[in-house]
């Protein structure tokens, strides 16, 4: 597809669909929502100019169905698709199908997706391009001697990992040479038992790992720039919860070094559009390429605030064939931004998901507050999808101001009817280690316990008083109403009903 984009189908739901549609509306490009049967009332359907139902609730029967989305594109005459994140956003078959149909895809080409989609080929390609990756063996280890030799090269401590493993299983830290033989034997045995595959490889063990990523933007003309870093180490079960930009540990020199490496990654895969290069950073601030996310990230707003750009509108411009409107040296960050993901899950009960109707919604306002939301008052949160409700993004001059402002914002924020992780954020914002920026990806697991959650000490009395008054006054009213019941003037509707009742009784 080439030339001006005139109508865009957003192949997603929730807050990111709204985020994209807001950019489209600013550009006066009509937006098309697609929705599953469970999403008829979803915020993105209400916001869009047009809306098409694409199937039953499970995403495998709707949001993940390439054929149905192509049908909706044809039906509405959209000439481009924005995939958001998740769902089909990194599916190269989808990008290819659109290209074949002559429809624009607001994102990178399928080739870049494929290259970055497989961790092993991505790693190999990046090594070839001169990008620093976590040092390790590229294949399975044979005996303890080979393991020792490689580990000496890498430097202790190292991590033994089952090749077929994942999710933290089949991993063992080896701190010095003496531990190697027994550790290798144990890991191989464990791997054989758990995954029916005893292959084990060795990798540098990253102590106090931080997850820091670089936003890149590239156009069809071959320009590529970086827009600083995002610190994403506050995670729970590999799910990011709070992100910020800049990172408390990245200075200008490190930003330039990481940024230039990220641009190298983007160029190595002929990247177009917005993308993110993820790095693992160790306690010495050494960083290693982890993977590239070939899409817009959930946490893109913190970059938008510090660089005063609109990444979605830039994606749309690039997809329309325009060149990037700035050079690297024009991109200077200002201030500090933090994003708090609002999940429908209860931190008091091990983050159990919570769904239901949002009975009351009161959003924070005033200076430095951005709310990217996918909900509204009276919305019934369905059970079928990701629990991300919205993102509260806070901006200020310094990190201290952002923390103070976020605390203030959470005193204003009311989401009632379902449980959310807001109490978790309130806890986090009072942790001295978090305030100092001293944390790694293990922070939540090591520091958080549900019993640490606190409510204002005045709450019990205030709630008791309010409930007692409500109950008392309701009772009074009901008694009064009962006394009045027979003396009321019948309304037109009641008369009609009475007439109908009489008629039926007669027939």
């Amino acid at each position: 597809m080439a030339g001006k984009i005139t109508k865009v189908l957003v192949a997603n739901r929730g807050e990111i669909a709204l985020r994209v549609m807001r950019a489209l509306r600013e550009l006066e490009i009509p937006s098309v929502a697609v929705y599953s049967e469970a999403d008829r009332e979803a915020a993105h359907v209400l916001f869009a100019n047009e809306a098409v139902c694409i199937g039953p609730a499970p995403s495998t029967e709707s949001y993940l169905r390439i054929d149905k989305i192509l049908d909706a594109v044809r039906k509405t005459g959209a000439d481009a698709v924005h995939p958001g994140y998740g769902f089909l956003s990194e599916n190269s078959a989808f990008a290819r199908a659109l290209r074949d149909a002559g429809i624009g895809f607001i994102g990178p080409g399928p080739e870049a997706m494929e290259m970055m989609g497989n961790k092993l080929t991505a790693r190999a390609a990046m090594i070839a391009a001169g990008v620093r990756v976590i040092p390790g063996s590229d294949g399975a280890l044979g005996d303890p001697q080979e393991a020792l030799r490689l580990s000496r090269e890498i430097g202790f401590p190292v991590m033994l990992k089952a090749a077929a493993g994942g999710g933290g299983k089949g991993m063992r830290v080896v701190r010095d040479e003496s531990e190697m033989a027994s550790a290798l034997e144990a890991t191989q045995a464990e791997a054989a038992k758990a995954f029916a595959d005893s292959a084990v490889f060795v990798e540098k063990y990253i102590e106090k790992p931080r997850h820091i990523e670089i936003q890149v933007l590239a156009d069809r003309q071959g320009n590529a720039v970086y827009l600083g870093e995002r610190e994403c180490s506050i995670q729970r079960r590999h799910q990011k919860v709070v992100e910020e930009s800049p990172s408390p540990i990245v200075d200008e020199a490190m930003r330039r070094e990481m940024g230039e490496m990220a641009v190298m990654v983007a160029k190595a895969c002929d990247y177009e559009s917005a993308g993110t290069v993820e790095f693992m950073v160790d306690a010495h601030r050494d960083f290693y390429f982890l993977e590239m996310n070939t899409r817009l990230q959930v946490e893109h707003p913190v970059t938008e605030l510090t660089y005063n750009v609109d990444l979605v509108k830039l994606q749309i411009a690039v997809a329309g064939g325009e060149a990037l409107p700035f050079r690297q040296d024009e991109l200077v960050p200002h201030g500090w931004a933090m994003e708090f993901r609002i999940y429908a899950e209860d931190p008091a009960t091990d983050f159990l998901p919570s769904t239901g109707k949002i009975l009351r919604l009161r959003e924070p306002g005033g200076p430095g507050i951005r709310h990217d939301s996918g909900i509204y008052e009276k919305y019934d949160v369905p059970i079928f999808y990701d629990p991300l409700l919205s993102k509260l993004v806070v901006y200020g001059q310094t990190r201290v101001e952002v923390i103070q402002r976020a605390r203030r914002a959470f005193t204003e924020f009311v989401i009632a009817g379902i449980r959310t992780n807001i109490p978790f954020h309130q806890w986090l914002l009072r942790q001295p280690a978090f305030e100092k920026g001293d944390f790694d990806t293990h922070f939540i697991d090591t520091h958080f316990r549900p019993e640490y959650l606190k409510q204002d000490e005045a709450l019990p009395f205030v709630a008791l008083a309010a409930a007692t008054l409500a109950y008392h006054q309701h009772g009074r009213r009901m008694n009064f109403a009962g006394l009045q019941a027979f003396s009321r003037r019948p309304s037109k509707w009641k008369l009609a009903a009475r007439k109908e009742a009489v008629t039926r009784r007669q027939s």
Binding site: A344, E345, T349, L352, P353, S354, T355, G356, L359, R360, I383, F384, Y385, D386, P387, F410, T411, E412, F413, V414, A416, G417, I422, P423, Q426, Q455, D456, A458, L459, P460, F461, V462, A463, L464, A465, A466, A467, T468, L469, A470, Y471, H472, H474, M478
Partner: protein, 177 residues
């Protein structure tokens, strides 16, 4: 100046509350200690403003059940469940033993979801903390466990079934029950 008496349960504690109009204000006594409060109704049965000892509070009555007296009250950036009973009703319920049944654990769905799998069947012996049912909600699987040791009396759901919050999933009874 008749005082109205209620028994209020909050955070597992029962409080004796008496409420009396005091001019344009209310006097509210909790376990014998009296506070004066001023209430303004912004939206009936929905939103109040309370001023208590000069402190200002905005309060939302998020959920309410007038028959059972159960409320969810939101204020001060948080929320809490409260139950209010007339004093006489509360006494009557205490005398009849309420609906408490000992030696029995009924697992209920803590959220709406899809039953992925039952991990036990009727007649199985289970220990405290043992998983009974896996429930999937919002792409996450949650193992729901027994709160007591006992025998599975009944599983109320089948695999793949959608359930609402509060739906009974399984019942465990004491071994010698």
């Amino acid at each position: 100046m008749s005082a109205h008496r209620y028994v209020v349960t909050l955070n597992g504690e029962k409080k004796e509350v008496s409420l009396s109009p005091d001019g344009e204000r209310w006097a509210i006594s909790v376990d014998g200690v009296t506070h004066t409060l001023e209430q303004t109704v912004i939206e009936r049965d929905e939103i109040y403003s309370l001023i208590i000892g000069g402190q200002s509070y905005m309060v939302d009555l998020v959920e309410k059940n007038w028959d059972s007296g159960h409320f969810t009250v939101s204020a001060l950036a948080s929320s809490v469940d409260v139950t209010v009973r007339d004093e006489l009703e509360a006494i009557a319920e205490e005398l009849t033993g309420g609906s408490n049944k000992e030696g029995l654990f009924e697992l209920k769905a803590p959220m709406p979801g899809i039953v992925v799998k039952s991990l036990v069947k009727a007649g199985d012996l289970v220990t405290q903390g043992q998983g009974l049912v896996i429930l999937e909600a919002m792409k996450m699987q949650n193992e729901l466990a027994s709160e007591m040791e006992g025998i599975v009396q009944e599983i109320f759901v089948s695999d793949g079934q959608m359930v609402e919050t509060g739906a009974p999933l399984a019942r465990i009874i004491m071994e010698d029950a």
